[in-house]
Symmetry: C2
Amino acid sequence: MTQVFNFSAGPAMISKPVLEKAQSELLNWLGQGTSVMEVSHRGKLFMEMITECDKDLRQLFNVPDNYKILFLQGGARGQFAAVPMNLIGAKGKALYLNSGHWSGMAAKEARNFCELDEISIVDKDENGVISVNRTDFSDIAEQYDYVHYCTNETITGVQIKEIPKVGNAVLVADMSSDIMSKPVDISKFGLIYAGAQKNLGPAGITLVIVREDLIGHACQATPSIWNYETQANSDSMINTPPTFAWYLCALVFKQMLAEGGLEIYAKRNEKKAALLYSYLEQSQFYRNYIAVANRSVMNVTFSTDNDELNAKFVAEAAEAGLQALKGHKVLGGMRASIYNAMPIEGVEALIAFMKKFEAENA
Amino acid sequence: MTQVFNFSAGPAMISKPVLEKAQSELLNWLGQGTSVMEVSHRGKLFMEMITECDKDLRQLFNVPDNYKILFLQGGARGQFAAVPMNLIGAKGKALYLNSGHWSGMAAKEARNFCELDEISIVDKDENGVISVNRTDFSDIAEQYDYVHYCTNETITGVQIKEIPKVGNAVLVADMSSDIMSKPVDISKFGLIYAGAQKNLGPAGITLVIVREDLIGHACQATPSIWNYETQANSDSMINTPPTFAWYLCALVFKQMLAEGGLEIYAKRNEKKAALLYSYLEQSQFYRNYIAVANRSVMNVTFSTDNDELNAKFVAEAAEAGLQALKGHKVLGGMRASIYNAMPIEGVEALIAFMKKFEAENA
């Protein structure tokens, strides 16, 4: 089989050693003669596995002791609803920072559950270049129960690299598409959430890291599977959790620790992105429309000036084993998602293909 | 490795050919060089897979054309909240039939989202035998937007074998623990839902079968991932679905069709349960406390008169390869869950062990 590199924005690549381990024990987990999918989540072995998963994640991501880690269902989209249900309190209002599609969707969903103000924090200049224009909200943030933003907009490839300033307000981040791509000072956040299907594991499980003092204030009309207090008191098991997805996340964390932790991943991710953006910068054929300061390390968007050429690029790349390079339908063009599991060889192969395609079509 | 039989109540056994198929293609799905976990849910191959899954399920479970099939996240517990959000309408009130733990939990959760009346429909006689005392609600049902019940109480092993009469009211069933164990006249229901982890596949995906005229009436405060209209209009993909769990369900349906469909499963399930209940009936050592008419074909509960003996039974059975026979903590004793994937050999092995244990301990 030809070497394949999968640039899917999510569900995305999973590290090969993790998949191989899962494959090898799929019918016989820990010598029990059953699949990890078939055992009770309340059984001794599964409980041991999730305890170790919590420990590994705390070590890897440097999660402070006063934060709870929850593994929930419903995706980031579920948290779009769950966050206001759990965090709206005395102030009765939240602030949403809009940096693109996903942060906008978060605000749209939240409007069904709370009052909110929404501020656009991106500009597009006369050449179509998008940049983030504001990250300091310390003058207004404390009027709100929380301030919500998205650290990395998967569709455009806009990443907010400095943590917004919000004074003593509670900062909430949707980190779905760049979580654990680098070390983060978690103490700056009240709550972090992320769908697993980019950097953590397969689709169907959602990580929530929440400061303990923010737990216990959910409104009555909070579905119990999303009530942070109920779930924190039940090891994220008030109902049957997505056990296989959780197990895979646990394997991913072990793999990341074995490879040396987030510093190593951060360096590798920076290197991959730098290779690709440097190539794009010097090209007259491909363009990226994100300001240098906000270029995503995870999702690199680019396009030619011609929709037909873009379609041809995507099709020929797929034939060459470079899969899923089509941009999101709301933006068009191309997008290379180069999450943690993408090796540098994948980026090198992509650049080689881009050069060849440019030579043939420019 | 010794032959193991896993009597877990859920997550439960998955058919071995399904697990073997998943294992064989875990790193290379359909020759793509990637795992099914790593590909976009909106990609051509995944879309083809779910289209076929819908078709297979319609054929297998005889789903009428005026019903939509949704695959959602959040488990049955999520639907405890989603059902009132979507179905409460002009009448402003629902009726919940309480036959044990899970139907009671459904009502408890629903109270956060709607007004409801709750009627206990089980009796316990002087010997502790539980029976269902009422299934005709046609005199009162039409006052309510819907009538909710649970077809099979997993903890006690109480199964309601005749469909409750509700006149022209909308009947909603939590079928989590007996779905697709036998053919069902779906036209009698407005909505059926089930967590997958007993008869359909792994934990982390929830099947909803809903009559089309009931779609489109969700209240505003319905999280979009549970809005039946939004999901029905988006192939259950308004956010990233749990792709691997969905894929496994699709494999289970194919396997069931290959084995001859639900009639075959129904006969096999009846035979397995009859073997076990006949043995329990003649025993002076083990007791089952469910009236004959309501004995579950899926979850067979039994116990000795002695808690220590029960614990010894569970431990020695596990050593003999008969796993997860401990009863739910709210009931104690033993429980053998014998879902679709449990072969008759598992039940025979259990009975042989029960005889041996009785001989040694009576």
